[in-house]
């Protein structure tokens, strides 16, 4: 009994010390999904994110000398579980990463109360770009309306769109419907016919009806807002239907190497707009290889690590790391708070020089944020599947912000009004 008491006391002491140690960290939890129907696309992203922070911890002892704790809370891409995860992690978190448009929409109103930023890189509710209304939400480096604008630009570069038909194949989910307002607006302006084709969650793997419609309608282009198993289903059906792959363009979440590997050469020509690109020669990737993968600290594999999604995970963590660094410099402390990180997220300045300093050469376009601009509007590259891998098929493209700037302000105000009382950033409104 005496022995037991001593052991218990030691354990309690150990726990106490452990708790004290845990406080000396930058806690940036990730609402990850490594399980469920979307796991195939979630895993490489989560691995890339985790490996970047592990590399920083190993190489630099964290950021500003404080280790980063990027622990994951598994959501399975379920909105309900995502909200539970948010509630579970928020007490100590500097930021939360919801990793689903559905979860983002659910936790968005909570951010004003909890005063913790949410980071939704390249996804979420597009009007979050308006930082004067959505003070705590960020979706840099680019949003869905940027993607829609760039895809339309790409199609236009191949010829006048007047009189053409564009099928919009999308997941029947908040994520899939996000670009509709912009695509409808641009269809009216440029004279093309937009044909929305929804894909239900239970039909992701069996899209023969959708592709029969595409065969019947003979659209000039198919634009895809797909995710998870939907992408593989669509790409295999496109090959089966003999749709010209060069006219099939996906959003950045529909540019996953593993989905294209299913069809290999038959998928050559398929395109995906992207704000990230895998560059195995970039210094950051070499450091990850040496300090994380070779050291056995990673869950990735060589095939995955060379792909678009893994490198995108790396870029996302690098952006968050830069925001932390920016906040640390501004406030003169390594152990920043959530509101201080918000300032950091609002003051990122990723110039070409800074991208090179961070070792991210060629992996992300330059962008900057401000208190009014929470998206950054980085632009992106049109990637193309060459039968084995994605290659850059364009120079850096940028969205035409005139396409959606008014709509962002309008929808942001609409959201604020329907969720009144909704606090806005008066200070920022006054300076911008």
């Amino acid at each position: 009994m005496k022995h037991f008491t001593k052991t218990a006391a030691a354990a309690v002491l150990g726990l106490g010390l452990g708790t004290a140690a845990v406080a000396q960290e930058l806690y940036v939890p990730n609402l990850a999904y490594r399980t469920g129907p979307f796991a195939a696309t979630g895993i490489p992203l989560m691995n890339g994110q985790a490996d970047y922070f592990t590399m920083l911890n190993e190489r630099d002892g964290g950021i500003g000398g404080v280790p980063v704790n990027a622990a994951e809370c598994e959501t399975g891409y379920s909105t309900e579980k995502g909200v539970e995860c948010y509630e579970k992690v928020k007490s100590d978190a500097l930021v939360t990463q919801p990793w689903s448009t559905g979860i983002t929409l659910q936790v968005l109103p909570k951010t004003n109360v909890d005063e913790i930023p949410i980071l939704a890189p390249g996804y979420g509710f597009s009007p979050m770009a308006d930082g004067t209304v959505f003070q705590w939400a960020f979706n840099m480096p680019a949003g869905y309306w940027d993607a829609a604008s760039m895809i339309v630009q790409h199609m236009e570069s191949e010829g006048d769109l007047d009189g053409k038909k564009v099928a919009f194949l999308h997941l029947d989910h908040p994520f899939g419907k996000e670009p509709l307002p912009i695509l409808e607006k641009l269809a009216g302006e440029k004279g093309f016919e937009l044909l929305p084709i929804p894909v239900g969650l239970k039909e992701m793997q069996n899209q023969s009806a959708q592709w029969l419609q595409i065969r019947r309608e003979r659209p000039d282009y198919v634009v895809m807002w797909g995710w998870g198993a939907m992408n593989a289903g669509a790409i295999t059906e496109a090959v089966k239907t003999k749709y010209p792959m060069e006219n099939f363009i996906g959003v950045w979440w529909a540019g996953h190497d593993a989905d294209l590997r299913l069809v290999g050469e038959d998928g050559a020509g398929y395109k995906s707009i992207s704000w990230s690109f895998p560059n195995a020669d970039a210094p950051v990737m070499r450091d990850i290889q040496e300090l994380v993968i070779d050291a056995g600290l990673s869950e990735t594999n060589p095939e995955e690590a060379s792909g678009v999604f893994y490198s995108r995970g790396v870029v996302i963590s690098a952006i968050l790391g830069e925001a932390i660094r920016t906040a640390q410099e501004e406030y003169g402390t390594a152990e920043i708070s959530a509101p201080q990180l918000r300032w950091g997220l609002e003051n990122i300045n990723m110039t070409e020089e800074r991208i090179t300093e961070l070792g991210l050469d060629g992996m992300v376009p330059p962008f900057s944020t401000s208190c009014a601009n929470h998206t950054g509007h980085s632009g992106g590259w049109m990637l193309e599947w060459d039968g084995e891998k994605f290659i850059k098929a364009s120079d850096l493209m940028t969205a035409n912000q005139d396409d959606y700037q008014d709509l962002i302000a309008e929808k942001a105000q609409e959201y604020a009004s329907s969720n009144a009382p909704w606090p806005t950033n008066e200070e920022c409104s006054a300076t911008n």
Partner: protein
């Protein structure tokens, strides 16, 4: 207005008969796969009155086991044999660990137990195989790729060799199952258990053996279904949702009827495709396949609560 809804779709069908044939073919392929999954449910329900919620995850588990074994360097057809062995071990384990201790419990308890099996297999599968999308070993199994292009009525009909193979294999499997159930002692024992549990037990039919057998047969069906769906769009846990497509098939055909599963599967496969193409997409914005089959099944239930081929339940009070 009425012309648009009632006449125009048929005019469209007549105007492009080659396209109608393509729609029916795609519906047939989907339908036969729905029927296969429904058969797995029916076999287990007939013999044990258990609604097997785990049928969907068994499809994923079987397909992942096959791909996983092959990835370890085991030749494709040996991997198929080993996967069948794994499914047999799974059937024995489920019978011993889950079902046997619950004999005599209400049906809802057994149903909940199959939900438990589902959750276990999801977790276990993710630990063993990971959640990444995997490529089905179609070439290694000799499943033909490519297509045959026909020109009926001067139009275009594309028949994927994979789809033709699926239809042929599924038809053979169903025929073999029917032969097994009708002409073998074990098959008759399964049917006897379905007809009258107590009477079957009283003549010495072993409940445990039959349960292992039907779960193993459900495992075989799961493997064939997993290969067929996996060859189309890869193998991942997303395949599990395919099983939900079998629910309206069961409602339509009846939970106890093998004929009902087959006819129901084919009906739903083809009707939902026809409705989606000729009514859903032009008038309702598409994506009607998510609900059409359930509405059809509910309409049938209004008139025949036991389904088209189910047995009428008469309870004396």
């Amino acid at each position: 207005m009425l012309y648009d809804y009632l006449i125009a779709p048929f005019v469209d069908m007549a105007a492009a008969p080659d396209f109608l044939l393509q729609v029916l073919w795609e519906g047939l392929v989907s339908g036969i796969l729905y029927a296969l999954i429904a058969l797995g449910f029916v076999l287990i329900f007939r013999s044990s009155r258990i609604f097997n919620f785990a049928q969907g995850i068994m499809v994923v588990f079987a397909a992942l086991t096959l791909v996983g074994l092959h990835a370890m360097g085991i030749p494709a057809w040996i991997s198929v044999g080993l996967t069948l062995a794994v499914m047999f071990v799974l059937a024995v384990t489920i019978e011993r660990v889950v079902l046997r201790p619950l004999v005599g419990q209400p049906d809802i308890i057994l149903f909940m137990a199959t939900i438990g099996i589902t959750l276990f297999l999801i977790g276990f599968g993710e630990i063993i195989f990971g959640g990444e999308n995997k490529v089905m070993i179609s070439d290694e199994l000799g499943i033909p790729t490519g297509d045959t292009v026909l020109e009926p009525f001067g139009g275009l009909l594309i028949l994927q060799h994979l789809d033709i193979t699926v239809v042929v294999v599924a038809t053979l499997l169903v025929a073999a199952l029917l032969a097994f159930l009708n002409y073998t002692q074990m098959g008759r024992a399964i049917r006897a258990l379905g007809d009258d549990h107590q009477a079957a037990l009283s003549v010495g039919i072993s409940l445990q053996t039959i349960w292992v057998l039907v779960w193993f047969i459900a495992g075989i069906i799961a493997l064939v279904t997993g290969i067929a769906w996996g060859a189309r769009a890869g193998v991942s846990f997303a395949l599990e949702v395919i099983a939900y497509k079998a629910l309206p098939v069961l409602m339509l055909g009846g939970l106890e009827s093998i004929t009902g599963a087959i006819v129901g599967g084919l009906m739903i496969g083809m009707l939902e495709k026809l409705f989606e193409i000729y009514w859903g997409q032009p008038f309702l914005g598409g994506n009607t396949e998510t609900w059409f089959a359930f509405v059809l099944a509910l309409i049938v239930l209004l008139f025949r609560p036991q389904g088209l081929f189910g047995e009428r339940i008469i309870e004396r009070v």
